[in-house]
């Protein structure tokens, strides 16, 4: 394993279920947690649909993977961003999205919800700050 610490940005632009990209992207995040990099997730365009609450896949026979997002705090993911314009174009607000809690096991510092709605300028800045962008 490498000692390098890189800033990873996972950039999610696809809706869930219609295609598998959202789910297999999340699998990379989960596996990637073992590598101790600095990880950020960004949801943009139809990617914002990945975080909606109340997903019920019983009728389409597919696995509901949305509960996994709620556990991301346990995988050392501390920063999750959602693009404001993408939400607005889709008639959504943060209330439609899951809340993801985070706790620092050492300091017991807690954050109730690490999902942050950001504007376009901040999206650009976050892309710029990262070392590697995984795009799904």
């Amino acid at each position: 394993m490498s000692e390098t610490v890189k800033k990873f940005l996972y950039l999610n632009r696809k809706a869930p279920y219609g295609t598998i990209y959202a789910w297999e992207s999340l699998e990379v995040v989960l596996i990637g947690a073992a590598f101790d990099q600095e990880v950020r997730l960004m949801f943009l365009d139809d990617g914002v649909y990945q975080l909606t609450t109340g997903q019920d896949t019983a009728g389409v026979g597919m696995k509901n993977f949305s509960p996994t997002y709620r556990t991301l705090g346990d995988y050392e993911v501390k920063n999750i961003y959602v693009d404001k314009d993408s939400l607005e174009a889709r008639g959504l607000t943060q209330d439609d999205l899951v809340a993801i809690a985070w706790e620092d096991w050492e300091t017991e510092e807690e954050i109730e919800n690490i999902v942050e709605v950001v504007d376009a300028a901040r999206v650009s800045e976050l892309m710029e700050e990262s070392d590697v962008i995984f795009s799904f």
Binding site: Y17, G18, T19, I20, V60, G61, M62, K63
Partner: protein, 145 residues
Amino acid sequence: MKFAIQINEGPYQHQASDSAYFFTKAALEQGHEVFRVFFYHDGVNNGTRLTTPPQDDRNIVERWAELADQYKIQSVTKDENGNETVQTELVVCVAAAQRRGIVDEGEAKRNGKDATNIHPKFRISGLGQLVEAAIQADRLVVFGD
């Protein structure tokens, strides 16, 4: 009513095969006939017997095979002596299959391949089977990306 179904995408990557499955099942449950399910483009990848999806996920390939069994999505032909041959009508396009590596015994022999991966309930056949299905069926319903 006679339906023909066309599926253009492989399993898991796109919802096409899932949607087609539930549509086909609902049509059969209503007493409609599903004359043929034709797998085209990457859809041919639905015909491999080698998939092992996670235990908590659906098995798309087996689900098609079971539906075809249960509702007899198959055709019966008689030879001169009156002997019947029953064929499954989960049909994988041969040209699309060759590009993508879906192989049955005959294809393996013809193309010098050392293995096959077709599921026993699927069969490989020509693109003419799609055209014929469109002619024979009352409705052609296409599922894709």
